[in-house]
Amino acid sequence: MIREAQVPMREQDPGSRVHNFSEVPLGYSEEEARQEAGRCLKCKTAPCVRGCPVEVDIPEFIGHVETGDFRAAAATIKRTNNLPAVCGRVCPQEVQCQGVCTLGKKFEPCGIGRLERFVADWELEHGIQSVEPPPPTGRRVAVVGSGPAGLTCAADLRLLGHEVTVFEALHEPGGVLMYGIPEFRLPKAVVAQEVEGLRRLGVGIETNVVVGKTVTVDGLFAEGFEAVFVGSGAGLPRFLGIPGETLIGGYSANEFLTRVNLMRAWQFPEYDTPVRIGSQVAVIGGGNVAMDAARTALRLGAEKVTVLYRRTRTEMPARVEEIHHAQQEGVEMEFLVNPVQLYGSDGVLGEAECLRMELGPPDDSGRRRPVPIAGSEFVINVDTCVVAVGNQPHPLVPRTTPGLEVSRRGTVQADETGSTSRSGVFAGGDIVTGAATVISAMGAGKQAAAAVDRYLGAGG
């Protein structure tokens, strides 16, 4: 008899967790993990593997979990995914592996993400099996950016024997994993441990280097690097472009989350960086970033947090679990609403004027386009407004690298191997796709590492 539903994962109770930044889902016990692993049908077709952008051998690792050989399970995952503790927590499994799970046709799909997290945490707790990198090839590669794309590319190149240095603009490696995704969803200690693993492997990491300012891509070649991988992400915040957006209390999600996560404003004044949080918070947008900002605002002590989204629940790009958690915690959601102007006094935000929308015909993205309803203006009280309507590729590296072609949207043009218009320069992750997912960035980093290796092998 197969259980119809996944073994539930214990979580912090919503009432108490809105007052702390500790992780919300608490993870499986060994017993729970083995039970959940037992739900896998081990179907021959294994559609889950193809649903995974880095093709983790899911049936194999789940098989190991079922028999209690967690070390072997970890080894299986790590063959293709070097950040499982991260992926198990933040991947949109419902549209990837779990979305195509055979069991899911009739019952709840197997909890692949939860099992992946369990295995990764088990390994972190019981000591990571050290991998010996092969003998050095003497070839040097520079990696720009230490998000999931850069970290994955660096790890793979190192495992191929190359000497790798990662250059990161901020003072901590990890990219969005460090500055964007909040502690309660992805503890920074988990990211730090993954980065530490990379260091142990012998990957060099130089923080506080802004490529394009501190040194250019051509400067890196001049320093003796033979290939450069650009994984600089989509770090440029988009604003609404409406009047009043520069009032105090108006934040980009990037600023709001960076203050809280990277700079630890939630521990102010123990940490020096403050963040202003009002009692009435509006978060504009419907993606993971919006959910993260809304849930962060609650934890900082806001009385009321409302997500304003211009489409409906169906079009929300956020992970299902994030929307669920946000609502459980008391985040309110207003659909088909768009702010058109912000008002304040003495430079400080006080109100937002919004318009109601209705869904029109589909746009380029295939989603139905929201159109304003004339005369539907209304005003709400808002003292903190967080704009989470998307991020664009960071223009600095493309702008300072002659011959590197970019698209009209500002993304670096690269093929599926990460090769760009410049020989020896590779790119992948959000800088190529625009804001996407952790796992797709990792996949791109992997592809590019293989391509860099071929390039170096071919005589560079």
Partner: protein, 280 residues
């Protein structure tokens, strides 16, 4: 990790630091800045480069103890101490054109960042008139260096303790009225730059100012540093920090600079208590 290799007091609460930062020193240019973070719990603050030496691999910063971080740096950081993070050079370099007469105005610690700009303008062939001012003589510094970096130097103090008594805008207005001036540069407190911009605009002379809004990353990824220039919202850290002064929305800049006043006071109080307890 960046060691402080030299520290020299320049006034009651002002000091000059020479800090190891070889990568920054290698590519720095006038008008650019660094973001530094003193320690693990520290905030990221922008500081405009006062000088740099690629051969020694060091940069020079001049810091006045104002907020929590600058006070902490002033009181607790000396030679041999290590600054956890220094990143740069950030922002666009000054557009140095070596033609005609240029007036470089500096107020208070703005003297430090104006120095490399004036020096570069002079080297490029411009005739450089310097105007530097402070509240009183003990807050003035680098008179000799500024003398060298300019062809003429006017010094003012609010109380007349050195040089001419009054504000920097007075000699500025006189010079602009009397001579053909190609451009004015003004670096200093926002209010001082605002009045310099008004003075230059009244005389019909273009003015470049170096804006100092609150920043977080300093690389264009957060928008904390948003300023309004000629009706457009710009990021001071990547689009600036220098902008045409006549187009800057000064009131917005001043308002946004005060956004965290309460929190800054709280952080400073906590720091003072900590120092008190440690010295008791």
């Amino acid at each position: 990790m960046h060691s402080i290799v030299a520290k020299r007091p320049l006034g009651p609460e002002i000091a000059q630091y020479e800090v190891e930062a070889p990568r920054v020193a290698r590519t720095a240019a006038p008008g650019q800045f660094v973001v530094l973070r003193l320690h693990e719990q520290g905030e990221r603050i922008p500081l405009t480069l006062a000088d740099w030496d690629p051969s020694r691999g060091t940069i020079t910063l001049v810091v006045q103890a104002l907020g929590k971080t600058t006070r902490e740096m002033h009181e607790l950081y000396g030679v041999g101490d290590v600054i956890r993070d220094v990143v740069g050079p950030l922002g666009e370099p000054s557009e140095v054109v070596g033609e005609g007469t240029v007036v470089c105005v500096a107020g208070g610690v703005g003297i430090a960042p104006v120095f490399p700009i004036a020096r570069a303008l002079k080297e490029a062939g411009a005739r450089v008139v310097g105007i530097i001012g402070a509240r009183s003589s003990d807050l003035l510094f680098w008179l000799e260096r500024m003398d060298e970096a300019t062809h003429e130097l006017v010094v003012t103090t609010d109380d007349g303790s050195t040089g001419r008594k009054g504000l920097v805008t007075e000699p500025l207005a006189e010079i602009l009225a009397a001579r053909q001036v190609a451009r004015v540069w003004a670096v200093g407190p926002a209010v001082m730059m605002k009045f310099c911009a008004a003075t230059a605009s009244a005389a019909g002379v273009p003015i470049t100012v170096s804006l100092n809004p609150i920043m977080v990353d300093g690389t264009g990824m957060c928008g904390a540093c948003r300023v309004e220039v000629g009706e457009h919202v710009r990021f001071a850290c990547v689009d600036g920090p220098e902008f045409p002064g006549e187009e800057v929305n000064w009131d917005l800049l001043l308002e946004r600079l005060a956004a965290y006043q309460e929190e800054e006071r709280c952080a400073l109080d906590k720091y003072r208590r900590m120092v008190q307890e440690a010295t008791r």
